[in-house]
Structures are given as structure tokens and as C-alpha cells.
Symmetry: D2
Subunit: 389 residues, 4 copies
């Protein structure tokens, strides 16, 4: 069994929980799970959600079943099994400031330090193998030292901390206090696997760390289109990539400070893949409620081909945003457990390269997803992550 | 120097000749040449066009400069250097029947056997390293035996032969009569590298054979898009891929028998990449004169993602058709010579896999172009095809 | 009440029956019905389906409810009301030859003349105001004279007749024998409102005739895009319009003789709207089963703008094919009855111009749909077809 | 002759001047000029550019030929005739603040009042029939009274004035001081024909006023697509319309205050055409230099069709931005002169409705461009603006 805790019971978590249970009962095939057809040492059936956290008063105290029913019940059946897990109150810092803070109505009843202790006590009971972070995107900088992080927690300095950093630290603390190991999967853009100090601590404590920012949406497609261009030595003249959706992530991204963050994430792939930079406009462009969770992506490129002639390409996509990430999590949770089994720790580059937009450890190069997937499979062979048959 | 003969002075050959000379003088960068940034043992500057053949009365007897001027002079400067090569009369069998036969006005003045002797005498003088076949698409089946091929030539049975087969045979005959080796590059769909008997003979005679059907246009893009889907285990529900252009290839493809041939070529990639077949409509759809050589491609797919939800993708492309293939030839000619240098012969799979739509030898699996390019580079390292530096 | 008979209980008829009843009960809004927001003298609520015909053994004898349940039950609720109408056996000539003839298993048990008498007897009882023809597309030429048509029926010369012609004749015969008037709506490409002799007879007998080929799908969109170009005096250089679907209409159109017919229909709009002809590729391109009734349309145009510069436009659409036509029928049935009320007869150009791809009477000009809609509304005012309020 | 003054020698003015002269000499056809094929009383050949103004130090003192050569010389031949017109220094207020102010290097050497006098003296000599305003987009509110406008000019209160308002006032002043009439064409979004007080004065002084914001780009296309939806009573669920270009207008629009302005302009069309509002994201999205003046537009809509089913449409366009507006000016200048000929004054709605995005007078309804073009032609007939033949 792979005991899994979900931080942030939003759309991704709902789809993860629902899709996972439906796959486990054979109701649906494991589409959208990259390694589903590869004989991974850990099976999808082993994944068990043992805990869920959120800061939304409308979710806390409800079962995952109730939450999923409300949010995705119209587009998907919700398995009864999810009645067994209750959403608990998580750490609420700045992630929803300016967007939903008024709506949520949750008040912080305790200091961060106390909250941390409560959580670790809960984890002691839940006994997790994997912690999955899918809370709403926050704007953050890497920390300077673990000491500083600890001091901020001690001082309850919530302005200089993000929930993600607190959870990443809690995972370390849980290791320290219980001696047990849990992998931390950071599927949002807040730097964790790209935070040198945090990576260092995960290495030291023997914990696997996957992040940052799950590679879904338009960016992986753009990456593979660029790789396609690169294999023919076409000179890309410009790239336009518009994104718009009607989910909370895009609502949050309309706040300028978050949008800038997202852009930094995406730009690095161009040079890493093509070997040169390209004038581009790549960013989450807007929020439009009726699009819901199925984002609209519009990509346009021009490139020079042989004899200096120009070609043009236009790509329009409607893609379900949250389920795409949920599908990756089904692999990441299993690989997290395999890493613990095999004693692999720190920011695991071959994993992050494929599954993350900003693969940690810091300074890592990006690559196209098609090549990253090959490397991932080779690495899984090497570490004996695949079952012989 | 890599002495190169071009069979069929059409659009591809014109772009090849023009682009090549412009790159050699530094006038333009080598965009569209996949290995231009890789240190291949043979340089672009070494390629020399020593002969050109066509069956069109309007081209025969003219210089490549004059032909290129007429056909692509409006969209590209034509290098003076091309005044040095004259287009000679080639073997005219069925390739243009029903399309241009009336227009051409060429009459066959000699038997096939005599023509073959004339051509080999010319080659004796030209001393080619590489023969590039880019004549108009012909409908053909693999031959049953080399003997039968020889008998048909002897009997002048032009109904049961294609020019491509005659040229592939001429290259073997040239080897036999002069002791010299030349690589044969078949960039059109007529099966040569997929013809068991021909492959066998090239192996026996020590000649490299690349083919069939240069991998340009929409198919490589579709292949890489499918690989992208495969890496996420998305279930593709259907594929539509329309193609339309205004060049002679699309005019030829409006003849039903050719169109069927093209479709066979393309379909195999789906199963090879995804592991399952997908309902699809993939074929050259039509001819529309004002599109010229810049084809319009429209691709549409739907696929299942995680939790059985559906996404949709639409791709529209305008791409220069002939220059794309011409760019590949710049690599193939160089690799052809490297194979001769290194004693590699027969249908060379790692080369064909990347550069061809229907990679020979017969029965070979296809793959996405991004993965094929990785394999090609690994193979080039192995055979010492790359320069150390 | 507007007593309506449907010929051909296929997709269009199913959507017509289902959508109509759902609108009548207020379950859904009348989207897709052009005049729904205009105060037409005849209300949607007045439409009553009193008869339905088909030649498919799987449908004959079933209720419209059962047929609709089977064919569109997965995508739409089916109103109970439709249990009241039974599908009767219609005239089966060549419409499905080569496609489904083997499957259908229906054998013609009587001569055409006898069948005609049976049908008119049934109509005598049904007492229809409007006959709607939505049988499968047939290839046909206009008839030379009504006499000849009658002789062919007498001779049972089924090779030289189409079911549509027989039904159009039956409507005239019904007028003659009962003294009652019914409007005939031909929503398929077979020429009826474009058949001079038939139009003449409808005029003589005082019956309204709407046709031919309901204006749905990509053509109306292309027409309005062209009108958009025309209002800016842009010079369109070419038009590509691909269509593909997975319904029986597209399956039928894969037969070459039908496809040619479709193309004739569509081309005339270009010159009528722009004032000049444009090189184009506009035709139903293919059949792909998983697309179902939701066709994929891809349009590409280039045009010259001011100072002779060139712009490019690409349009991709997924549109439900049959419901679009069904929506038009809701208007046409009502206008048919209004024409009878007001004594309007023959091929009614202002109606056909908007609702039909090939507006009769023969020789009529096409126009964009936006302008046709204005003319339709003006005409309705003139003939007192609108309710004052 | 129609003596024409251009305010703002930017891209639009360059294309206007160049295209106009090329059409006059017969070098190119009048594509992009909506009424070119209609027998308008005033011919294109009559238009004469007698003056040009700009505030850019790099343009002032140069001939229009030199300016056009520099800015569009790479994509278009420049007629020698344009050597006859010199670009004079215009009124520089806030239009380029924050974008190019540093670059321009022009300093205001005189008060607004003095500048106004200078300009009117120049116009006295130029004797214009039409003043065309195509300066860079400015953010402005309508004025409260002409008195207030005059006071601001007197006080030299440049913070509360825009160049457009000053020019619109100068045209009135010119009328007052010389007794001559000139039409004012405001092709940019700054409200002039939508400024009640200004419209009132133009009415009183007998001057025609066309504005605001020339209807080019994606908005007219969206308008006509919406009209297409309206004629079928489809319920549009949402509209996404992205725009991106690399010209100075898009650079300017990246300033938040301008972008907001643009959005106000565009939204009103939806309700005016469909009769209901639709959730939408319609705005100039970004700036990307290599796109140049050929903007990329991506439109996506979903709508409900009959039986409440949903269709999807995607439109991708590359369109030359400035030439499109220049083409409209060729008509507007001629209609301006016709209005003077016929004594028509004030904000002329039938003209503005077709040519402008925000048709004045204030409070005017928008409509689709296809319908507006019909109304324009009817109005031209009524006012005797068309030549009989």
C-alpha cells in the first residue's frame, strides 16, 4: 500500500481521488497516466488516500466524496470509497489573498508552530508514504537557509512564508520526529525542488523530493513541438502561446505577481530545447468563467525552413487542465514510494525532468517531454523500478 | 567531394540545388538540414552536383540554372554556379501517364536496354558517389526477383517497370561494370528500400540504399504529436489529417491509384507509435493550384485523458513542401558518402527511420521523428560518422 | 395546428421530432431555430408530427420514440410524446444503393403505382399541411416533363426515378385527388425546387415548394465569411473547405456520383457573393466513424487587402450536422403553413434563399445568409407573415 | 480634387499614402477599399494629400516618401509622387507618454494656443477638404463643454487635453476663421464622434464628423461571425478573442490605461448584435515584435444549437493591421467630400456604423459590418452619393 496525503482538495485533488478510485475498480482505463502501460514496481491499485487538507471552510470537515461531488459531480461519477476520507484544515497563508480570502471565512486559530505540531501529530497517525502538494499557486522566493525558515515559523511570520514551504518543512520534521520517510511531491510553481536549501535538507534526511510545477497544459505540447522543429533544424522566428481558462488557477493568475512567476517557469524551455532564444509571448492570458477547467490554448509559430523559406503553424487546443495533472500524480506517488523503497532521495532529476515544468534541483536543464520520457524509462530500469516479466 | 547525381529535376531538385549552393557560399544558413549543427564527417561544402536527369522536353538540354530560374526564380535567387550542370534526358516510363504525358512531348527513341547503357556510360564519366531519386511519384509493386527485373528490361516491357526500379538497377549495374560504389537515395514512395530483392542485391554489392519516401510534410508532425500523446498515455480516439497543395505531386496524387499508395505509406506510423490502431482519415486530399508548393495541412484529433475526459486538438499548417525534402537530401547525400567510406551497405535502418516515411528494409517499424533523430545520432557516433573535436 | 409528415426517419428527422417536442414543453429553448425570436404568425407549438416514413426494416413499424431512442438516445432525452407516431414504410428506390441496400433487407412488395396509391390513401387520413423530405441524398437530374415522370411511374421504371421525385409528385397527386393543399419541403440536394417542370406544376396547383438542400454545415459559414470579404473589397485568392463526419450522409457521399452532386451545389455561392470566381476546393472530404454527426470543418482562405498585401484566415469548426437542419425545419414547416394560409405557391425564393443551399426556382442567385435573412424578414412583413403586437 | 491632410504619419498614414498613389497610377487594384466597385460620386483619383503632420523628430521635416521608405519600404514600393509632401510638426501631448517619449526627442517650443494658430495658418494655405486623424491611440474622456476645451487650450493645460481633441477643435476654428469647410475623420479610439459636445459643434458649424476608431482587425470579423450566429438563433456561450502584433499600436496598448479603453470599444458590439450579453475575453493581448504590423488573431466560441447541443468554432487569422485601416480611409475621405458637397454635417451615423468600431453620435447602436454595409449603400443612394450610369 502507498499511503498518500493530499494537500489542497481543489480540482486536481478531486480528479486525482476520483480517477484513482475509478481505475482501481476497473471502471475506467488509466488514460492520462504516463506509465500505466509500463510494468512499474508499484501498482496503481496500491495507492490509498489516507488524508486530505484544505483551508476552505466549505471543504473542511466534509468527506472527499462530498467535496468532489460538489466540484466535479456534474462531469464525473464519484466513487463511494471517497466517503472514507475527511478533509482536514490545512495551513492557510497567502495563497488565496486577494482572490478568495473574503469568501473563505476561515480564521487562523493558532500559531504556525502549533499548527505544525497538530499536523505532524495527525501524520503520525496517518503514517504517509507520500505527501502531494496541490494547493493554489503562491508567489514565493527560495529560502536562504533552513534556520531562517525555522525562525520565521517560530516568529509566526506569515508574511514571509508560504504554505508550501511550511508543508515541505513539515515533511522533514515528520521524518525527524517519527523516523519515518515520506516523499514530497510539489506539483505547483512555488520553488521547492528548485530551492537549494530545501533540496539539501531532503538529501540529508534521505527523502525524495519531486517538483516544481506539474508539466501539464500547453507547455509540454510547446516543448515537443519545439523538439520537432529542432530535429529538422528549423529556425523558429517567434512563438505565441495564449492560455485561458475558467478555473481558480487562472483566476489566481490574473493577479500580476502570480502571472510573472508563471512566465519565468515557462521561458527556460525554449533555449534548453532549441539552443537559442526566440521572441515569444507565452503566458496564462486570462480568465473566462464558462471555459471552466477545460482551458483554451492557442499557439502560433513561424519558422525558417530550407532555402530560407518560411512556414507557419497554428495549434488550437481545448484541454482538461486539472485531470491532466491528476494523471501525472498517479505515477509520481508510485515513483515516490519506489524511491523510498530503493533509498533514493533529494530532487530526483530524471523524474522531475519529465513530470515538472521547472525540474529541480536548481539549475537543471529542461528538455522536450518526449526525450524526458525516454530518460525516465531508462532511469527506472537502472534503479530497478520496473518489474521483470 | 561528394559527387551527386539528381534524377528528376522537379521542385525538390531545384530547391536542393539552389539551397545547397547558397549555403555553400554562406549566403543563407543551413536551416532545414537536420544535422547541420552536428559535426558530421562529411561537410555540406563537399557536395557537388555532377549530373541531373529529367524526362520533360522543356528541361532536357537546359542548365539546372535555367530550369531552377523558371520554376522557383520568383521566390528565390538562383546561384550562377548552377549554369555548370546540364539536365540530361532520363528514363521515361509511367510516372507522368495521365497527368502530363501529352504536355511533355518526349518520345522514347530507344529501347530500355539501350537507354540503360547510355546512362551507365554517362555515369562512368560523372563518377557519382550518390544517386538521388526525386522523380514524380509512380505506382509500383516490389519485384519478385532481380532476374525478372532484368528480363523485363531486356523485353523492353515498360508497362511492368517504373523508372525508379530501372535507376535502382542501373546503380547496381554501374557497380558491376565499373567497380565503383554509389549510394542510392530513394526519396519517393515507390518501394526500393522496401523491396526485399533490391535490398538483397544492394547488400550483396556493398551499396548503401536509403528509402522510401522522404519524411516531410504533415506525417512527421503527426508522428511527433502522436508520440506526445503516447508519453502521457492519452487514448487517441480519431485522427483527421487533410493535405492540399498546388504542386505537381498533388496533381499526380489526384489519380486514384497513386493516392491509395500514399495512404498505405502513412497509416503504419499510428500503430507503431501508439501501440494500437486509431480510426483515421489521413491522405493527400486535393489539388488547388494557387497554394503552389506551400501545402495546407489541417489536423484534428480527440483523445481521452485522465478520468476518461476528452480533449480536442486542431493544427493548421502552411509548409513549403519541396524545400523540406531538399533539406533532408543535404544530410542523406553526406550520410550516403559516409556509408561508402565506412563500408556500410543495404537498407540502413537508423538512417531510413528518421529520413523516410516508409523506412526500409521491408517490415521495419516506424517511430516518431524525435526518437528517430536520437537513434540516428547514436548510430552516427557508433559508426564513427561524427568528427571528434 | 400544422399537420406535418416526415419522409425519412434518419438523424435529421429524429432531431426534428425530439427538439420540437422538447421546445413545445418548454424543456429547452428554441436555439437553432432562426425565427424563434420573431413573431411569426404560426407558432412552434402548433407543429404536430402526424406521420413518418422510412425504408429501413429496422425502423418501419417502430414508433418515432423507439427510433429516436436508438439513434440519438445517448446524447439527448427522448420525449414520450413521440410514442404516438409510428414509422411507416416509404418508397425505396436508389437512395441507399451501394451503401446500405444489403443491410436493409426490405423488399419491394408492390409496384410504384400501387405504392403511390397506398401512400395517398394514408395521407388522406393524416391530412397533412406540410411534407418534409429528409431522406438520404440521391443522385438525380431534373425531369423533362410531368408526363414523362408519370409514365416512368406507370412503367415502374425505378432506375430512372428517385424517391424524392415520387414524393414531390405524390404531393401534387394528393392535391388533385383530395382538393387539399400541402407544402413540400425538400431539404436534400435532389433537384425539386430547381426542377423547372416540378416548380411549374406546384405553381399551377397552388402548392408552396421549398428547396433544395437545407443550408446548414460549412457552406452558410463560408458564404457569410465571403460576404465579410466582399464588404471590404478584399480579393480572395483561394478557398479550401474540408468537411468530414461519421454519419450516414457522409458515408453516402463517399460514393463518387453523390459527391460530384454536392460540389455543384456549393460552388455557385462564390461567384454570386463575390462577383468573381475563386479557385477553390470545397467538398465533403471524407467519412470517419468516430466523428459521428458532429462534423469537422476546416476552412482556409488567403486574400489581398489594401496595397496588395496578403492576409490568411483559418477556421476550424466542430458542428452538429443533423440538429442544424432540424432547427431550420421548425421554421420551414411554419412558413409552409403560412404560405398555404396566404395563398403563396411555387418555389418561394425569399424562403429558399435563406434556408437552402441551392435556392429554387432554377436559375436563382445565391447570396450570403446574413443578407438572405434580412430579405426573408422583409418578405415576411410584406406577406403579413408576422404577428403585429 | 479632394485636398487631404493626414495627422500622424505612422503606419496607417504610410500605407494610405503609398496605396493611394499606387492605385491612382493603376499599379495595383483598389483591394481593401470597400466602395471601390461602387460608383461613388467622388473618385479615388481625386484624392490629393496636401499635408502631413507628426511629432516624431525622425519624421518631421522629411518627405512622406522618405518616411514611408523607411517604415514600409521593405514590403512595398514607394511612389515618387510622395516626395512632394513634407511632414510638418504636429501637436504632441500625451499620446506617446511612457512608450516613446524618451526616444522622440521633440520638445514643445510653444504654447498650445500658439501651436493652434500656426497650424490654422498652415491649413489656410493647404486649403483642406478632409482632415484624417491617425495619430497614436490616446486615453481620453469626452469633454464637458467647448468652453472648457477652449479654456484648457488657453491655460496650456496639456495634462487634460489630447492631441485629437485639439485637432478636432482646430478644424472647427479653421471653419470659423476661413469660412471653409473640412470633414474630420477620427480613425482612432479617442472619443470625438462620441463626444456629445464636439458633435454638437460640428453640427452647428456644418462640418461632417466621422468616428471613432476605424473598424479593422478582429472586431469586424467577430461582429460578422456573431451576426451569422444571430441569423440561426444560436446561443453563444462565450467568446475568446486574442490579438497580438508587433507594431507601435500594440506596444502602446500594453500600457494598462490604453488597454482598458480598447476593451470598452469592443464589448458593445456583442449585445447590439446578439441581443444579449456573452461572457467574453476580447482585448489586445500582447506585443511581440517579430509579428510586425501583421497581427495574429485567435478567436474561439462555443454556442448552443438546436436541441441544446453544443458546437465549437476556432478562427486563426494573420492580418495586416495598418493597410486595412488605410483602405477604409480611401472611402472615408471621398465620403467626407461628398458630405461637404451635399451639405451633410455632424456625426454621420450610416457612415460611422460601417467604418467605425464605436460609431458616433454617442449612444449609437453597433451592428454587424455586413448589414452596416447594406445600410451605407442605401444611404449613399438616398443622398445622391452614387453616380448614375
Amino acid at each position: 500500500m502507498i499511503r498518500t496525503i493530499i494537500l489542497g482538495q481543489g480540482m486536481v485533488a478531486n480528479y486525482f481521488a476520483v480517477g484513482l478510485e475509478r481505475i482501481k475498480t476497473g471502471e475506467i482505463p488509466p488514460y492520462g497516466v504516463p506509465l500505466a502501460n509500463v510494468k512499474l514496481r508499484r501498482k496503481i491499485e496500491e495507492i490509498e488516500i489516507v488524508g486530505a487538507y484544505d483551508v476552505d471552510a466549505e471543504k473542511v470537515g466534509k468527506t472527499v466524496y462530498e467535496v468532489a461531488k460538489k466540484w466535479i459531480g456534474e462531469v464525473s461519477p464519484i466513487p463511494e470509497k471517497l466517503k472514507e476520507v475527511e478533509v482536514r484544515e490545512g495551513v492557510h497563508l497567502r495563497s488565496l489573498n486577494g482572490v478568495l480570502s473574503g469568501v473563505l471565512g476561515l480564521e487562523r486559530k493558532m500559531t504556525l508552530k502549533d499548527a505544525l505540531n497538530v499536523i505532524i501529530d495527525q501524520w503520525r497517525e496517518m503514517n504517509p508514504d507520500v505527501i502531494v502538494n496541490v494547493i493554489t499557486t503562491e508567489n514565493a522566493k527560495p529560502i536562504n537557509s533552513i534556520n531562517e525558515l525555522e525562525e520565521r515559523i517560530d516568529r509566526n511570520d506569515i508574511e514571509k512564508l508560504t504554505a508550501t514551504q511550511v508543508y515541505a518543512y513539515a515533511t522533514l520534521k515528520y521524518r525527524e520526529e517519527t523516523g519515518r520517510k515520506a516523499a514530497f511531491i510539489n506539483a505547483i510553481p512555488t520553488p521547492v525542488a528548485n530551492d537549494e536549501k530545501i533540496v539539501e535538507m531532503y538529501n540529508r534526511k534521505g527523502l525524495p523530493l519531486f517538483g516544481d510545477d506539474g508539466a501539464t497544459g500547453a507547455t509540454p505540447l510547446t516543448a515537443d513541438l519545439l523538439e520537432h522543429m529542432a530535429t529538422r533544424n528549423r529556425k523558429v522566428e517567434f512563438i505565441v502561446q495564449f492560455n485561458i481558462a475558467g478555473n481558480i488557477d487562472f483566476l489566481a493568475l490574473t493577479l500580476p505577481e502570480r502571472n510573472i512567476m508563471k512566465e519565468i517557469t515557462k521561458v527556460s524551455i525554449i533555449k534548453d530545447i532549441l539552443g537559442y532564444d526566440v521572441p515569444h509571448y507565452i503566458k496564462p492570458t486570462g480568465y473566462l468563467e464558462p471555459l471552466g477547467d477545460k482551458k483554451f490554448v492557442s499557439i502560433h509559430m513561424e519558422y525558417y525552413t530550407f532555402n530560407n523559406l518560411k512556414d507557419e503553424i497554428y495549434v488550437n487546443v481545448r484541454m482538461n487542465d486539472s485531470p491532466a495533472l491528476a494523471g501525472l500524480l498517479v505515477d509520481l506517488v508510485r515513483i515516490g514510494k519506489i524511491c523510498i523503497d530503493k533509498g533514493i532521495c533529494g530532487a530526483v532529476y530524471p523524474v522531475n525532468l519529465f513530470y515538472m515544468k521547472m525540474p529541480g534541483p536548481p539549475g537543471s536543464k529542461s528538455t522536450s517531454k518526449i526525450l524526458a520520457f525516454q530518460k525516465l524509462k531508462e532511469w527506472l530500469k537502472e534503479i530497478d523500478g520496473l518489474v521483470d516479466e
